[in-house]
């Protein structure tokens, strides 16, 4: 896929960091404000989609990013199930909170919920980007 014009590339360069930061903010404040793992993950996937659309990609690059995103997707899912299983191992109850709850309405609070949000964020970000790649460049990816 070919890239877009210089204007698009420049603007993308400027905006991309802010969008990523915003996605991180949404994920990390998931237990305090609206949003959370899924919404933030979608925003982070948007960063990669934007970069892909603006700069284009080669066949090799698509294959590489599909592999990386599939690894991240598995890692995110494993983190999430791992947190739930840690609850089972440490407290005897699946998904039970096993770390201190902290003071309400602070960033470090709500026990395992921020950790779950981070795991979901990784999973959704990588997963949505894989979906995008699978639809945009499915001819290359499916050949392996």
């Amino acid at each position: 896929m070919k890239g877009m014009s210089l204007i698009v590339k420049t603007i993308t360069n400027i905006v991309i960091g802010f969008i990523f930061l915003y996605g991180l903010y949404i994920i990390l404040h998931g237990h305090l404000t609206p949003g959370g793992g899924f919404a933030g993950g979608v925003i982070i996937a948007g960063v990669f989609v934007l970069k892909y659309l603006a700069y284009g990609s080669s066949k090799a690059g698509e294959k590489k990013s599909s592999i990386i995103s599939s690894v991240f997707e598995s890692v995110g899912a494993l983190l999430f199930v791992g947190i739930a299983l840690l609850g089972l191992l440490l407290t005897g109850v699946f998904f039970l909170n096993f770390i201190p709850r902290g003071t309400p309405l602070h960033l470090l609070s709500a026990g395992i919920i921020p950790l779950c949000n981070i795991a979901i964020g990784i999973k959704v970000g990588a997963g949505l980007f894989s979906i995008f790649l699978a639809l945009a460049a499915f001819k290359y990816i499916m050949e392996d």
Partner: protein
């Protein structure tokens, strides 16, 4: 530490470890999947022993008490479903080593295979309506992908057709959940059951039940809604066909229907005779229509697909009869048909693997060259037809007994009479493929792992047939009682909560 959440977390974790392992080694993936599915089998056996002691094990996710949190309600019927799922998953996994060898991206197959397992296990043990929907969609989405796994034109077409039908069913289920939540303000199955018990069945609940029955009939492929099944199940790779036909439609369609009709809405033949007659009608229609259509099929797997639709009808009749013998027969039939049809689809896989075609006319002569496959097919077919020492006979016997006890003598006679259809279409395969001499006689035997998987299922079938009295006392009988206790389900769920919390 309780084992209940492990039933769906173990397959889930495996599903997400496989993509990482798949980058390292191909055979490692198969080994891990097989070990995990065997571990699930052991866990399922342990679960059966657990339900002998306590009739209902309630597991609270994150320790939230029932009406607020999600609970897992594990009773004898769930234990039976989990056991059957794990048997079919294990044999299918063992079978798939050589069958999948010529596909690309094998780890994707095993990931989807484990996801479908996790979804089915979840449905069988959940005690929450929305949770059931989520697991149902996990299993359904994986099955759409698995049907299309070969990415040939026919497979994609079958998958899209299946997906359209299946999603209409799934979204109707979601709409029913929304309306039910609007009325009862709860999603816990036991709590919904309490509300219905308090209000009595009014027209609103009948409408919800109608929508749910529509959704689950699509998933179970009962006759007016069966059109996707004869396309989708043959299109999938053989181990997946075995899984889909053997247990998938029963968990998604039959288990959910039975659980909701008996335990949640608390219907019995005494208080809702019309509804139960409707179930019997759907069942009879399925048996007759699909059985007759199966007779004219020329494709090995497609014939088996129609046979599945037809056999599901018997299970529906058993649940429609609604007394102890009928329900026990239906539960027994779930087990018998899972083993029998799972085995038949595995034989189709072995035949396709060696012969490379599924058309019955071209397959003559395989009886000599693939004797293990041929004998496995004969055992599976005889069990489905209902020959005495095999497990299928007892299943049919109990359904017929139930019909007679309920005063439906005509139904018993029709059910026995329609078995002739089963005999007829299975004999067509036997005659064309395994009895007739032909040019396929020079083929090699099926690969070793495939034969092991088939022989394992034959042994399980013989054991369940010979030890049916034990099975009846310890697994099937309690499962039927679990369904027939109706509204008591809710009291058991909330009762154990009072004890444990």
């Amino acid at each position: 530490m309780s084992i209940i959440p492990l039933y769906f977390t173990i397959p889930l974790i495996t599903a997400f470890i496989i993509p990482l392992l798949g980058k390292i080694s191909k055979s490692l993936v198969w080994i891990v999947t097989t070990i995990v599915s065997f571990a699930l089998f052991i866990l399922a056996l342990y679960g059966v022993t657990l339900t002998q002691e306590t009739s209902m094990i309630v597991y609270k996710m994150g320790n939230w008490p029932p009406p607020l949190g999600i609970v897992m309600a594990f009773d004898s019927f769930s234990a039976l479903m989990v056991l059957v799922i794990s048997i079919i998953v294990f044999t299918g996994c063992f079978f798939s080593l050589r069958y999948i060898a010529h596909y690309t991206g094998q780890w994707k197959f095993y990931t989807l295979y484990m996801l479908i397992t996790a979804g089915m296990m979840g449905i069988a043990i959940t005690g929450d309506l929305f949770n059931m929907f989520v697991f149902l969609e996990i299993a359904a989405i994986s099955s759409y992908c698995l049907v299309a796994f070969g990415v040939d034109a026919e497979e994609l077409e079958a998958s899209f057709k299946y997906m359209v039908m299946g999603e209409i069913g799934g979204l109707t289920f979601l709409l029913a959940i929304a309306l039910l939540y609007a009325r009862t303000s709860t999603l816990n199955l036991a709590d919904i059951s309490n509300t219905i018990q308090g209000n009595g069945m009014n027209s609103f609940f009948w409408m919800i039940l109608g929508m749910l029955l529509f959704a689950f009939s699509i998933k179970a492929a009962l006759v007016p809604f069966h059109t996707w099944l004869p396309d989708a199940h043959p299109a999938a790779p053989a181990p997946v066909s075995s899984l889909l036909s053997g247990i998938f439609i029963k968990v998604l369609g039959i288990y959910t229907t039975a659980r909701i009709v008996y335990n949640i809405f608390g219907l019995t033949r005494a208080n809702a005779p019309t509804f139960f007659n409707l179930l019997i009608g759907l069942g009879l229609l399925s048996i007759a229509w699909a059985g007759l259509t199966a007779l004219k099929q020329k494709d090995y797997k497609r014939l088996l697909g129609y046979s599945t639709v037809s056999q599901i009808g018997y299970i529906m009749i058993g649940f429609g009869i609604g007394n102890y013998y009928g329900v026990a027969g239906a539960v027994f039939y779930i087990l018998a048909h899972a083993l029998g049809k799972g085995l038949l689809f595995l034989t189709s896989g072995a035949v396709v693997h060696r012969a490379g075609t599924r058309e019955l006319d071209k397959l003559a002569g395989l009886g000599e060259s693939m004797s293990t496959t041929a004998w496995s097919f004969r055992f599976g077919a005889l069990s489905l037809i209902g020959l005495p020492p095999l497990v299928g006979f007892f299943a049919k016997l109990f359904i017929v007994l139930g019909a007679i006890k309920a005063g439906l003598l005509w139904l018993a006679i029709i059910a026995i009479g329609l078995s002739v259809l089963t005999l007829a279409y299975l004999l067509k395969i036997e005659n064309n493929v395994f009895m007739k001499k032909g040019k396929m006689a020079g083929l090699k035997k099926a690969p070793f792992t495939m034969r092991i998987a088939m022989v394992f299922l034959v042994i399980v079938m013989l054991l369940t047939g010979l030890g049916f009295q034990t099975l009846m006392n310890f697994i099937v009988g309690p499962a039927a009682h679990a369904l027939l206790r109706g509204f008591e389900y809710a009291q058991l769920v909330f009762g154990s909560f009072a004890l444990n919390f």
